[in-house]
Symmetry: none
Subunit: 376 residues, 2 copies
Amino acid sequence: MSSVVSLAEISRAARPLNWLDSIIKGDCVAALNALPDNSVDVVFADPPYNLQLGGMLHRPDQSLVDAVDDDWDQFASFEAYDAFTRAWLLACRRVLKPTGTLWVIGSYHNIFRVGAILQDLHFWILNDIIRRKTNPMPNFKGRRFQNAHETLIWATPNAKAKGYTFNYEAMKAANDDVQMRSDWLFPICSGNERLKGDDGKKVHPTQKPEALLARILMASTKPGDVVLDPFFGSGTTGAVAKRLGRHFVGIEREQDYIDAAAERIAAVEPLGKATLSVMTGKKAEPRVAFNTLIESGLIKPGAVLTDAKRRYSAVVRADGTLASGGEAGSIHRLGAKVQGHDACNGWTFWHFEEGSSLKPIDELRSVIRNDLAKLN
Amino acid sequence: MSSVVSLAEISRAARPLNWLDSIIKGDCVAALNALPDNSVDVVFADPPYNLQLGGMLHRPDQSLVDAVDDDWDQFASFEAYDAFTRAWLLACRRVLKPTGTLWVIGSYHNIFRVGAILQDLHFWILNDIIRRKTNPMPNFKGRRFQNAHETLIWATPNAKAKGYTFNYEAMKAANDDVQMRSDWLFPICSGNERLKGDDGKKVHPTQKPEALLARILMASTKPGDVVLDPFFGSGTTGAVAKRLGRHFVGIEREQDYIDAAAERIAAVEPLGKATLSVMTGKKAEPRVAFNTLIESGLIKPGAVLTDAKRRYSAVVRADGTLASGGEAGSIHRLGAKVQGHDACNGWTFWHFEEGSSLKPIDELRSVIRNDLAKLN
DNA sequence: CTAAAAGCTGAATCCTAAG
DNA sequence: GCTTAGGATTCAGCTTTTA
């Protein structure tokens, strides 16, 4: 898995070719044009934001902010940025299946232009999603509100496209049995997750957190689907797709990013089939979940939970449900089921191992709640 | 306070006219064109969202959702909506002071178009703000994420406008002493706050919560400022402006909305002056020169100052400069120089000995400022 | 050794009055 | 218009150093 393919190779080869699970080196639009029609289930795009930064910015302690001033984020004008945006969006639509959807992420610098062009091209917006950051960079000069979020747009290729994938039940179960909202909260990508070179410096200036991609793919794809990222960067989309049993295609111009992404993806261990099964609706086993803990890394998919006396055990799945003895469901339903009860508070029933002792998962929820409380 | 003025009256009258704290009946652009240049401190605009709703929507219990399908929300095309948007934005810019700012609120149906046009017209975006709703309407069909937010854009009339009002200190203090973020959480407008007619039905379909307007006005205006709302509706902007000691101007076409707004605003009791005073930071303090400390005898020529960790030291000279190792300059320049920085706040960097402890010379400046305050 | 303190950093359109 | 200089300004999370 995860080979690197040159644009020339794709163009030469008879289609279909082995471009799945590979990184295509080259210009985004040219590479897209080399791919077959209707071949991709979801596009996730993290295009340049066109930040238009002025001079240097210092923190109050006089240290210099390491700004995003790379060449790839420079555009001569809004017109140039708009033309670029139209080109890659049109190229993406051709390779998208009629039932596919497209995600774009951006900030106020570019997202309004992207959104308006999406509408002009007759894409159909399903949602705008707010990626709230728990730990954004402050506004050092006190002249604006702290810019604490980014915006995602989720759209179908046209207004009449109805067959797109949205794992509504799984999202709802993963959100304590209420439907998933349009405002999502994640930490920025830092710590061990952040790729660093031999010099200790970040490999890519804008690496996205895996938790964000995990929610996007769990919401809008099924296992085996093909996910295309036309601005692959350090390969977060590929890493999460592989882990979640989805195919990926990445397009990237810079060899340094390609090298880092290929190595990163090669190290990813895919999750097992049982962990990946996605809830399909009311016909599926009644389930609930708790995936903020999963997305935050407090509990990992595949982890085993037990009750306080270790009479029962269950495995955590990636969509935020539990599985045990052929049964699956939310923490509440499965807790009830294994005990033969009608109801159960999964938060206090299920425990995790810490050292040699067992603790209720409710303690982990408190951790999250404390974080949330700080934001309100 | 709060009279209703016809467009004809304004046009006939010699300016300046008593259009403050009144509702102007008429078309938004025509009414704006009747107002003088550079006369408004803040515009708050809640334009039609151009919702493009298809058929009727029913809840799972088959009850009908009361959608926004009013005539004023219907546009023939994106082009028509864009032309309308350009027209009112340009008209607003003319009446805005150079130091003024503009707020617009919208949803994914229209905000991307509004934002892109703002940029095309060379407005300069300061922030996009997310209004998170604690109690948004669910997605009844389970085909999308619950649309739980709206987006505001805050902008200056052009990129070079620097003198706008942002009550940073007040916002920070109101937010548990950490700077205010771009994601705001409010309940939707309901209960007693929601205006209802004699028939018990809501007066306006998109009435905004007063808490939202209060935060906007507390952040970006001073008492006595003029706030213009070109889509006045049920008059939330006017009610909050009056309560907070700001002037308002509302523009509205529909007589029913005007009547409801006028009655509502008349019932508002303004807060007292003491309640309205805005918290300010050091930026607003009178300037005190370092020389003043020497002249007043608080610091004597020849005294030795150090940084908080005694890593650097300097001698006070009679002319109000510091000297250290052959270098000399203002407290700021020399502080920067000894640290190898471009800039430095000498008031907080340099310390003097008091007993056995070190104190920043900023404390001596406070002494002077307190004396000055007694003279006023 | 642990605990506390200090240091570092993140998609940033980040000052303003006086001369 | 310009330049110059006074001096105001940061949150959370992780890592490294010091006590």
